[in-house]
């Protein structure tokens, strides 16, 4: 039972412990030091994330670690496979970018104005720790605690500005998230009652199709869909993500919404490999398609830029769930070998970068103009060319035009739809792309329109902040050069392959 602390295992623990201890330290030291602690931790956390990905890639196997050297089912296990490694690196990159962007908006200061900086930087680190805990958690209840950590770190971000309508948005978000968590917990309880363990690897061996398993998985999926704001449970998302300050919106839309999606993937592909029926997957795909259509249409009708981007998030989340009908029971081979598996994950990653860049660009525009009404955007293209260019790059990825990560993701979903001869998903993907094009060009047309006399900006936006936004948007575009075939990294450590245990 001796659990030699392998290099890999230590890294997994660091991925969670570092951000959380940093947050505790910044809570103790106060607003003056919170920013410095966060900025010191970002490169360290990035190297830990890249190191985890390297170890997983070199070993070509799951990196497993038993906490307290207790073997499951008694103890809790951390597991990092290819999928979690990709998400951990994405989270580290994005949070570092958002941190650099947010320095101007939440400068380090003591005294009366210290509330927002202290709360933002502490919550930023907590969100990071919670995300890493979700990505490498191997035990269903440990994942519940990680989800709660994520929810409690995300809700205060919504009402950070202290405006009245953000409190209502934060309260609605909290109620939806709590209902989701309690349904997830109920499903976990049923699984423990039936199979006597909460460890994902052990469960996948013991679980068999039956009413208890169906009830548990459907409850847990319903709970996670409420937290991931999939249509029709998306009501809380637009006011919450639009009301939050720009860097907070970027984290919420880019990363926090992806964690429940990640757990639905864990649930359907790891806890119950090969068991979910086609009908259930079609329902999930149908909800995704509805999210794409309604989200995009609602986005087209928005008057404010941040609300438009928030509804675009609701739509893009729909794409993520198209992965299930195409990959749950493929015609040939394993689910993770299908193009839909890589397409879905790539959509999550590219959407994270693109949406973060768009929200930050919208934040800069709102800061410069003093408002974010789309009708009043005329001339901003001339005043803030770099920001609008970054917004366009992000839009590129949302529309799925080459060369962008969004294009590759949607192309793989299309090929998977054709391969699985479920052509209707292809129609939805294309329609979504056209609608996304609609609302992106709507904004760009207004922004690039000539405003007659030159625009007077309320405050000058420093080039460095705009550069960060462009870099993130470029990351979304660079993902477009990923080869158009199922990626090898994402197939590491799938249940079918034998797990070489790193004790």
């Amino acid at each position: 039972m001796a659990n030699s602390a392998t290099a890999g295992g230590f890294l997994l623990v660091l991925a969670i412990v570092l951000p959380v201890m940093g947050a505790l330290l910044s809570l103790t030291l106060g607003g003056r030091h919170a920013e410095r602690i966060a900025l010191i931790l970002m490169p360290v956390g990035l190297t830990v994330a890249v190191a985890i990905a390297a170890v997983v890639w070199r070993a070509h196997n799951v990196l497993q670690y038993f906490v307290g050297s207790w073997d499951p089912p008694l103890g809790v296990a951390f597991r990092a496979d290819g999928l979690s490694a990709a998400m951990i690196v994405t989270a580290a990159l994005l949070i570092s970018g958002i941190g650099l962007f947010a320095r101007a908006q939440f400068p380090a200061q003591g005294g009366a104005k210290a509330r927002a900086p202290l709360v933002f930087w502490t919550l930023l680190l907590m969100v990071w720790g919670a995300l890493n805990a979700v990505f490498i958690g191997g035990d269903l209840f440990n994942l519940y605690v990680a989800l709660e950590l994520l929810t409690f770190a995300a809700v205060p971000l919504v009402s950070l500005d202290g405006r009245a309508e953000t409190f209502a948005a934060a309260l609605r978000y909290l109620l939806f998230a709590l209902l989701g968590s309690i349904l997830y917990l109920l499903g976990t309880g049923l699984l423990y009652g039936a199979y006597g363990t909460l460890d994902i690897a052990l469960l996948s061996g013991r679980i068999h199709a039956g009413p208890v398993a169906w009830a548990a998985v459907s409850l847990m999926t319903a709970g996670l869909l409420a937290k991931a704001a999939l249509y029709p449970l998306h009501l809380w998302l637009p006011p919450a993500h639009a009301g939050a300050p720009a860097p907070a919106s970027a984290i919420l839309s880019g990363l926090v919404v992806k964690a429940p999606f990640f757990l639905v993937v864990r649930l359907w592909f790891d806890v119950m490999p090969g068991l979910p029926e086609h009908a259930a997957a079609q329902v999930l795909g149908g909800l995704g398609a509805a999210a794409i259509i309604f989200g995009s249409i609602l986005a087209l009708r928005q008057a404010r830029l941040k609300l438009l981007i928030a509804y675009s998030t609701v739509a893009q989340i729909g794409y993520l769930f198209l992965m299930f009908p195409l990959a749950v029971r493929p015609e040939t081979g394993h689910p993770w070998a299908t193009a839909a598996w890589t397409g879905g994950v790539l959509q999550a990653v590219s959407h994270a970068f693109a949406k973060a860049a768009m929200f930050m660009a919208a934040g800069l525009i709102a800061e410069a103009l003093g408002h974010d009404r789309i009708a009043g955007l005329a001339g901003i293209g001339r005043a803030l060319p770099i920001t609008v260019f970054a917004f366009g790059l992000g839009g590129l990825s949302l529309m799925g035009l080459p060369p962008s990560g969004g294009f590759v993701a949607k192309a793989m979903l299309l090929t998977a739809a054709v391969a699985e001869n479920q052509w209707w998903w292809a129609v939805v993907v294309l329609a979504g792309g056209v609608l996304a094009g609609g609302y992106v060009f709507l904004v760009l047309a207004r922004a690039l329109a000539d405003a007659g006399e030159p625009l007077t900006l309320l405050s000058t936006i420093s080039r460095s902040r705009q550069a960060v936004v462009v870099v993130l948007a470029l990351c979304a575009v660079l993902l477009g050069f990923v080869p158009l075939r199922p990626s090898e990294l994402l197939q590491i450590g799938r249940p079918g392959l034998p797990i070489a245990v790193f004790r």
Partner: protein
């Protein structure tokens, strides 16, 4: 068996009353009664630790919090009454919830009667943790990472509440200033009850490693005593910006992390305890953890800063 049926019916009756009561005050009072009855159910389910937690946190502190909130929101009672959803929605919701309950009830009947259990493994490994109480062994040793993350969740909820304060009172005193007349009945009761409560709390921590009890229950009792003293004005919440308060709040999780990381060197894994010192290490974690959780729970009830600090 008759007692169980009676208790279950009573619990359901109070729960139905809590949901269908017209007035929010009646609902909150019903909820407190529901919580205490649920504690009794936990005793019947042979889970004294959980009964303690349910009574202390589930109905006690939560009930107090909800009552406090209701006194503020009483004026909005009539305004909101007009917004009750129409009969159609209520019927649809009732049907949906009835189906959920029926489905769950069927699942409960389907679950295996002698359920698969980890009790044997817990019993087999409990010697290395040096603890007598199996639940504390699970909380502090086998699944220590869940307990650690959960205390961080508590701290995060507190930071979330503090972040709601307007900027002008940031760093100030949380919650309104309470003052009761020094000769009043409540003051007398508080002066008598607080020492007894602290004694009971300390007993529960110390006893927690062997008998039912533990840091969460003890912390709740200590927090309740602090809230009672604050209600009477004997003590006032320190300003949020005080450094020692933040250190006290963070001490519990910080010690937990430190000993957990030390586990790498001493026992080969994060949060692993070398068998000979296991009980000592767990106790050194539990004491600061209880104080931190007690302070966090008390400040969670006190609420965001409301009175500006004398800067």
């Amino acid at each position: 068996m008759a007692f169980d049926t009676g208790l279950a019916v009573l619990v359901l009756g109070v729960a139905v009353w809590t949901i269908t009561a017209r007035d929010t005050f009646a609902a909150v009072v019903g909820f407190v009664a529901f919580g205490l009855l649920l504690a009794l159910v936990w005793v019947r389910l042979a889970a004294p630790d959980v009964a303690l937690t349910e009574a202390a946190i589930g109905s006690g502190v939560t009930g107090g919090l909800l009552l406090g909130a209701h006194t503020h929101l009483r004026r909005t009672e009539t305004a909101a009454a007009g917004e009750l959803p129409g009969a159609a929605l209520r019927l649809a919701a009732a049907v949906l919830c009835a189906m959920v309950s029926a489905g769950l009830a069927a699942i409960v009947l389907l679950l295996p009667e002698p359920a698969p259990t980890l009790a044997p493994q817990v019993a087999a490994n409990i010697a290395t943790t040096g603890l007598g109480n199996p639940v504390t062994a699970v909380l502090m040793a086998y699944r220590a990472v869940d307990t650690l993350l959960e205390t961080v969740v508590l701290l995060l909820a507190l930071l979330g509440i503090w972040s709601l304060a307007p900027d002008r009172v940031w760093g100030g005193f949380p919650g309104p200033h309470h003052d009761a007349d020094p000769q009043g009945v409540l003051t007398f009761a508080a002066q008598l009850l607080v020492p007894v409560g602290i004694l009971v709390g300390v007993h529960i921590i110390w006893d927690g490693s062997v008998a039912p009890g533990g840091e969460f229950q003890a912390a709740t009792i200590l927090a309740a005593m602090w809230i009672l003293a604050a209600m009477v004005g004997l003590v006032d919440a320190p300003p949020v910006s005080r450094r020692w308060l933040r250190i006290l709040l963070v001490a519990g999780p910080a010690v937990f992390f430190a000993i957990g990381l030390a586990g790498f060197a001493m026992a080969g894994a994060f949060l692993a305890y070398p068998p000979p010192y296991a009980k000592l290490l767990i106790l050194t974690i539990e004491i600061p953890l209880t104080l931190s959780i007690a302070a966090t729970l008390a400040l969670l009830v006190a609420g965001p800063p409301e009175r500006a600090p004398q800067r």
